[in-house]
Symmetry: C2
Subunit: 509 residues, 2 copies
């Protein structure tokens, strides 16, 4: 650089080229990770961990190159001369945030973390079905150390703050704790009221549903709501996820249980929701740091809005239930839509987060959030985690997980990411999703009727216009304020839950 | 580096780390390419081309880093102090060869080439089925320019020499032309003698064979001969290929035609042959520049040895034909093994190289070799290629391709690699394969009987010991000399053809 980069435009252009290289390296790592999780032969594990670590390390080295730092400094006047929402200003702004964050983390640490994540994930995929917590324990202990080491590169009030800020920019332990407290206060009586009612019979969901037909139906639903298979594909993996290789190649995975209709169905809608967000990013942002969801919370708001607010609504099944019945005539022929609708919305104190209903879901997240804080704070040892997990499930949800596979090893997050910083996004997403949807139907009151008639475009279009297209141009906070006119609040979610479940359970909430 | 790297050991260790990073980047590019060719949604094309180009460029920049050049110079005494066949000496030797070659090619050229290759491949996959040579023409013209530009970075006698040397180190237009001339002289009378005989009826191969069963059978055969599915997998792609992401993850692809039993079957054995070579590399070479096949020719010697010398032998089908008959009872029940054996070895003047029998195969290659030389020399324009192709097929094989899809667009090579430097490997491979096999059965005369009895391990083991395990430790020339005790010659191949086909056609050859 240097000599030739005299104008701000030349510097900006050079910066953009470097950032695109970094994006390409990250995309390559994502492809290698997707491959590892869906299709890779077992022999590939060792080299794959090393390869992903190399790509991550090189991307990181390129980002923290002091030349980038200098250019970002030099471009301050250029950035300020441009409108806040111009792509150029946003690219510089977001690149600076990424640079400031990443330049604190040594490259060799990133390589170590990435390698350990790959190894731990691989162990977890074997240890979980074998219910062997002992096998993952040393890996999780090292993961906890690495998570603390990650935090140590930043100033913080709480050790988890830098981890949370990384996923949900602007959030902290204090904010999230307060939201959980408000939620808890309102949710606990609702859960108690509902679970005092006679339980819903949801046995219709637990018959034999052939894998092949489940895949066909899930694919059809994903496509109808707006997921584009020309710019994505669906495969199987032990834990469903979505991943983006470019705005035009955003993939989803699912997990199919032939004795449980809800597993593949709702995970497909959930992941399609994530993927529609990424596919909906404006094409001109491709290859820039803006081409991604803006935060974990906003991402989850989209997956859970589509999965729950839409996918578990009465109107949605007015549209799709006849087709589902047609595909599983023997199993669902005798089941009325009302019975089916109630079954997929059954509220129960259950052990598995991903199977949990919308009402209890955030209580599951709260358990994980407080356990990971306790581990990070050094108040809970990894060896005591299984017991602590079980105790919390007993006290908060009144149930005891059958084993560690359904307990402390249930979720992939601690075994592939960091301990801390990830789970809060689910609850933030639930709150944001309800707040966005409340606004969407205020602006377009005909959305629910459109959904009933199989027109998902009205909602999709509103979300794309207001959220998807911007990618990371605005922060979560900015989007929520701009789109809903109010800061993040637990109220729209609680209102949504009260209205929906009062009707389903025929009680006052 | 510098200050800390004072000892040769420290320099070697630093070099090895850099080379492993480069290998990882190349492996990542290979994964992205495999994904693009087998599974990627159509939308992914544009970004994928860019991503592969970025990885290739960074790998190239890292290899040609002057620090690497300096270390390689510094390590000369260290290398000379070690035995020639120690991994350390071999790594330095091969790294120096790669460095010398790559440092001549500018990084920006590599990026341009790689991007154009991806774009051209994508066009070709559409233009070939549409028989639209016009669509690929401008791409092929640019590919020809890029191929010449590639050669221009090297000193050469013939413009194709650097391209050939890149795939088949030590070979040149002069050597290859001479081998083709010797082959042609001996093959033409053999082809004439055989095609004067009454043609073999091979209609038994062109019935309906269900895709599913073909896949099951091909997979079983690949596994039995030694391809390890725990360290590989098989998918479908428009043009079958094998690709290595590490010595423990080597994948193959196939193409299935439900009306042609030979397509998937022999392409599977062929690609398994390539993959067994890469899977058989000594584990301690993983992540080093030695962890690859030593040349295009030696690679083809393994694919074609397994496909033809083994896979089209009478003994091989003594072992497998009962199983194949069992899977396709209606289609093959009435077909005797002798009839089947003759059918899969039918010699005919036909338009498609990959479907060609062993006897005429090298004549197909000779056509491509001379056409690409003519294009590179400027004696043949791309726009005249389809006509030139057809004329050569008419004069050399007495047939006229039905269209350009079966003519000039038949093979992927010019549309994904370079024009020049690739086809000669097939014929070199045929010659080497026959020479290796002749030696293998001289050392272990029981190999043919073992194969008949379904024991492929004796041959596999011999090949692994003598060829596979070494990777790039020895050059093709060194391996041929060391293993067979003689330089490369057309004689073992000609002897093999004469003996086999004299028996099949009951004539003197």
């Amino acid at each position: 650089m240097s000599a030739t980069l005299t104008t701000p435009e030349a510097k900006y252009s050079y910066l953009k080229t470097c950032l695109c290289q970094i994006k390409d390296l990250e995309a390559a790592a994502a492809v290698l990770n997707w491959d590892q999780t869906t299709l890779m032969p077992p022999g590939g594990v060792a080299a794959r961990g090393r390869q992903i670590a190399t790509l991550t390390q090189i991307a990181h080295e390129k980002l923290i190159d002091p030349t980038i730092g200098q250019i970002l400094e030099d471009l301050r006047p250029y950035e300020e001369s441009l409108p806040y929402d111009s792509p150029e200003a946003a690219i510089v702004r977001v690149a600076r945030r990424d640079y400031d964050r990443s330049s604190r983390i040594p490259s060799e640490f990133m390589a170590r973390l990435s390698e350990h994540q790959a190894a731990t994930y691989e162990i977890w995929t074997k240890a979980k079905p074998a219910n062997d917590f002992g096998a993952v324990r040393p890996y999780l202990e090292k993961m906890l150390d690495l998570s603390r080491e990650m935090a140590s590169f930043f100033p913080y009030e709480h050790v988890a703050d830098p981890l949370i800020d990384s996923e949900d920019y602007g959030m902290s332990v204090a904010t999230v704790r307060s939201l959980f407290a408000q939620l808890r206060e309102k949710l606990v009586p609702i859960v108690e009221a509902i679970t005092s009612c006679p339980p819903i019979d949801d046995s219709c969901l637990y018959q034999y549903f052939s894998k092949k037909r489940q895949v066909v139906f899930g694919r059809m639903v994903a496509e109808r709501i707006g997921y584009n298979f020309q710019r994505g594909r669906q495969d199987e993996s032990p834990h469903p996820f979505s991943t983006s290789f470019s705005v035009d190649d955003v993939r989803i995975t699912t997990r199919i249980d032939e004795n449980n209709l809800t597993e593949a169905l709702f995970s497909t809608i959930h992941e399609a929701g994530h993927a529609m967000y990424e596919q909906g990013i404006a094409p001109e942002l491709e290859g820039t740091p803006l081409a991604a969801g803006t935060s974990g919370g906003v991402h989850e708001s989209q997956s859970r809005l589509w999965e729950n607010i839409v996918g578990r609504s009465r109107g949605f099944w007015e549209c799709f239930y006849p087709q589902l019945q047609g595909m599983f005539l023997r199993e669902l022929g005798p089941v009325s839509i009302e019975k089916f609708y109630r079954a997929i919305n059954k509220v129960a104190k259950s052990p598995i987060r991903t199977d949990a209903d919308e009402v209890t879901y955030n209580l599951h997240v709260a358990i994980r959030f407080s356990l990971e804080l306790a581990m990070l704070e050094g108040k809970l040892e990894v060896r005591d985690l299984p017991e602590a997990w079980n105790e919390r499930y007993k006290s908060d949800l009144g149930i005891l997980p059958a084993n560690d596979s359904q307990g402390a090893m249930q979720d992939v997050h601690w075994f592939c990411g960091t301990v801390g910083g990830m789970f809060q996004s689910y609850t933030l997403g639930n709150l944001m999703g309800a707040q966005f949807y409340e606004k969407a139907i205020k602006i377009n009151p005909e959305i629910p009727v459109a959904i009933e008639r199989g027109n998902f475009n009205m909602l999709y279009h509103w979300l794309k216009e207001n959220i998807y297209q911007h990618g990371r141009k605005y922060t979560a906070e900015e989007i929520i304020k701009e789109v809903t006119g109010a800061p993040l609040s637990v109220n729209p979610f609680i209102d949504y839950i009260r209205n929906k479940y009062a009707a389903i359970y025929q009680i006052e909430l």
